[in-house]
Amino acid sequence: MSGTAREAMEFDVVVVGGGPSGLAAAIRLKQLAPEASVCLLEKGGEIGAHILSGAVIETRALDELIPDWKEKGAPLRTPATEDRMLFLWKKRSVSLPTPPQMHNTGNYIVSLGEVCRWLAAQAEELGVEIYPGFAAAELLEEDGRVVGVATGDMGIGRNGEPGPNHAPGMELRASYTLFAEGCRGSLAKQLMQRFGLREGVDPQTYGLGIKELWEIPKERHRPGLIQHTMGWPLDKHTYGGSWLYHFGDNLVSYGFVVGLDYRNTWLSPFDEMQRLKNHPAVRRHLEGGKRLSYGARALSEGGLQSVPRLSFPGGLLIGDTAGFLNVPKIKGTHTAMKSGMLAAEAVAEALEKGRPAEPRSFTRRVRRSWLWDELRRARNVRPAFARYGQLGGFIYSAVDTVLLRGRAPWTLHHPHTDHAVLEPADAAAPIAYPKPDGKLTFDKLSSVFLSNTNHEEDQPVHLRLRDPGRWRTVNWDRFRSPESRYCPAGVYEVPDPDAPELRINAQNCVHCKTCDIKDPTENIDWSAPEGGGGPNYPVGM
């Protein structure tokens, strides 16, 4: 955009994204190089506003980063006490043995948004400059090297013209830029293309997690209880399941993950998570409670096979943007933090040693760390589910992880991208979802209401169809608008099926990134809206 009128500021390091990976990187950098100037941008209105996670977390990375986190009052207050793994049929359930990687002794149930707010306070104490409410919207490149990012302009009207309140974006220039945007980062996507970072690795595969935060009657609250389910309501070819964690003051985190390699275009992840609440295994926890918040976020499920090249001239990819999530554990916080810390170590060294263009030692550090070892052991589980279905996958994983301890001499691959596997509407069986009752189950719009999402209305739409014409011929004619079902925020709508036209209610977007991933021809492009827009998840999410 208006490159000329922009102000610029120089830093040693700029971090894009204030999740666990970005914050851990910033903290580690200031620990190693207190003199370095470190600036962190976060698109949410405050740190934590866009963080959505389970979350049961391992403390391994935190122990290394801030060994005295307990004394410093880190909000890890609910130790895990009981693990349950259930396989569901429509009315029944059986307990499965908890797979070893899912044992949670020593772990904590947290609100990851709250943990991030606390990490941000630690970072600021060390002198990190944190600017929430500003999205990095543009890469700055000079002579083949990334030299920072620019924030978007504020006050551009829907027509693309500057309004009366127009404030140009700002250039944040740095020797090194760390991209910590989380799953499916919008700038990371550009970087992968620009520098060919995905060459020679499997495509990334994703899941969509939809979450509700509940407050339940005290008598029924069992802090520390962890329950996961597989099976119903998904068919046996679709990867996914629910989680349910009791934590904090009578809070329950309930949610559902669906692998975005699902094939049935009629599937609606939102409605799956709603109808699952009618199952006694879930219902008995939530009944009589009150739903406090709602949100959704995609997660990277490709594991090691899908991790791209991590460095490029001028910067690094860290956290879930790089795909460091341990899928069988459904944990990515400790790995995200560890990757951030290793990146900080690589960058601190590079700052000292003449600032070479590419801080290459990061990849080496990652390969030598427990992070690599852990992801290596877990690498075959997710692809096994894609190949052998829910139970087959479960049995395969037991063999791979228990008998072979992750040392199987083979590696299963992800043959397809998620968007390519969708079956046309006439080849798939429509799914009839029950109506919400307004007490336990809800409709989309009243759910989105609880995400507190908002976007300044008068701004260019941040969800673009690259080729608008293709919507009718592909999305409608072949797939009957899958986006109106997978989008968990009701952004996509076809008001009149007799005269099909796509309406995009961009203000409702909760930044989960699913449309950017799952559109059958990758025709939808998610770009960062005006800073501060998007959900405002309260502490608890």
Binding site: R117, F134, N452
Partner: protein, 249 residues
């Protein structure tokens, strides 16, 4: 002329407030907080008065917890020159805030205090009027237009059924309404610069003001949910009901 602009840190207007389970109040812990939108309008107006050369200095004040410093920084990023944080434990009531502001007015000697007409948390709509009463100054509330000229200020007010214009002798208090202006963004460069602007912190106790609450909150509840009424069969029936039963037409 020097301007004093009080600003309050409140739950962000995008966030749906949630009543605490024990009915003691509304949950504010861990909820996104921002500057009261009416106060943003007051800051904007102050900055415009400065840009026009009418105002010479803008001092922003907030009474509240330490985190209110963030709100003051935002005001300085919008263009205020310096800030005073009066640190107080619990959010003091409008009467106490007005007394604290009186003490600051005596110290800072502004010619005009510009403030929001109400805070969107307690919706009291009282502090400006009370400060005017305590100081014996004139007040122009619910302003939708302000014009400065010499020793007087012309204020157009939003009143029931229209607008009213008054002329105020300075010094005076003006409280602002929604339509006065559209506040600017605090841009990133300005936020960075605002980190270097002076922010003074004083303890409420140090001002010798009695801030003891006069109101005791017995309970806070959610409003009763609206229930479905009746279905009518025809337009005539509807009009009859509206006329004779509901008496709204």
């Amino acid at each position: 002329m020097k301007l004093l602009v009080p600003v309050k840190r409140v739950i962000d207007y995008n966030v749906k407030p949630r009543v605490k389970a024990d009915n003691s109040g509304v949950e504010t812990a861990g909820v996104k907080m921002s500057m009261n939108p009416f106060d943003e309008i007051a800051v904007e107006e102050a900055v415009r008065l400065k840009e026009k050369g009418v105002a010479t200095e803008i001092v922003v004040v907030s009474v509240g917890a330490a985190q209110a410093a963030d709100t003051l920084r935002t005001a300085m990023a919008m263009g205020a020159d310096r800030a005073i944080l009066v640190q107080a434990e619990e959010a003091p009531e409008p009467l106490a805030v007005a007394k604290i502001l009186r003490a600051l007015v005596e110290r800072e000697q502004p010619r005009l205090v510009l403030m929001g007409k109400q805070a969107i948390d307690d919706d009291m709509n009282a502090t400006g009027q009370m400060l005017a009463g305590l100081l014996g100054w004139g007040q122009g509330t619910f302003a939708s237009k302000i014009e400065a000229g010499g020793d007087a200020l012309s204020v157009t007010r939003e009143v029931d059924g229209g607008l009213e214009t008054i002329s105020l002798v300075l010094p005076a208090i003006v409280t602002v309404d929604l339509r006065l202006n559209e506040p600017r963004y605090a841009s990133l460069p300005n936020i960075m610069k605002a980190r270097k602007k002076p922010l003074e912190t004083i303890a409420a106790a140090g001002l010798g003001v009695d801030v003891a609450p006069r109101l005791q909150t017995l309970r806070v509840v959610e409003p009763p949910e609206r229930k479905a009424g009746i279905r009518v069969g025809s337009v005539a029936e509807l009009v009859n009901k509206l006329r004779d039963e509901a008496r709204v037409i």
